[in-house]
Amino acid sequence: MSEFIQTNVQPYFNFWIYVVLMMIGLWALIAKNNLIKKLIGMSIFQTAIILFYVSLGVKDGSTIPILDHHGPEHHETADAGHDDVHEKEHGKKAEPHHADDHVGPNPDTIANPLPHVLMLTAIVVGVSTLGVALAIGQMIFKEFGTLEENEILEQIKAGNVDD
């Protein structure tokens, strides 16, 4: 059991919690009676999916994907020993030689920013769907005088709807 936790649960804890949150949201969407509770469940479902995508970009011991300097890392150290004339003569010819070397920061030390950028769009789309859904909820309240699903269904069955 402890071996199972060490190999399957601890390295993938984000993914286990993502599944749990997603099932909580799905349960609220299906089983809750109040329409606003259903919408809170929908938002939890959306954040669970975003949690899954952001967890894909995380590496062990990685930091935020922001650099505090521009350009290749080796310029200061590699050119430190040369004088100006030498650099003008050989500066451009030395570039292809250096291109094989390690240029820029090590990608293993920063989180993958691609899923982050995709999920920015997902957050904004999620809030706009939430806004439209809550506006429709207010229209439903104006029409039926309640937000409980069973009472709305009873009124529809009784034929109290004026189109």
Partner: protein, 81 residues
């Protein structure tokens, strides 16, 4: 990514989600959903996604909580479940 922070925030996240869905007062449900939003914002800052974190803090926790409160103000505060 720091595993101790990760595990604490994720457990609080599940607790906040369950409480937000089981409270019968819709206004406190919306408030606890705002707490859920800030917890997931903390989680993203901790996972290295700072851009997602401040978008979530502004949009997810702020604007969606305001939307919920506006809707509850215009409708009814009690919920049957």
């Amino acid at each position: 990514m720091i595993f101790a922070f990760d595990i604490i925030i994720l457990i609080f996240l599940v607790v906040a989600a369950i409480i937000s869905l089981s409270v019968k007062d819709l206004l406190s449900s919306a408030m606890i959903f705002g707490i859920y939003g800030f917890l997931i914002c903390l989680l993203w800052a901790e996972m290295g996604a700072v851009d997602v974190a401040f978008t979530e803090a502004a949009v997810g926790a702020g604007v969606s909580a305001v939307f919920f409160i506006a809707t509850i103000y215009n409708t009814r505060r009690r919920s049957s479940d």
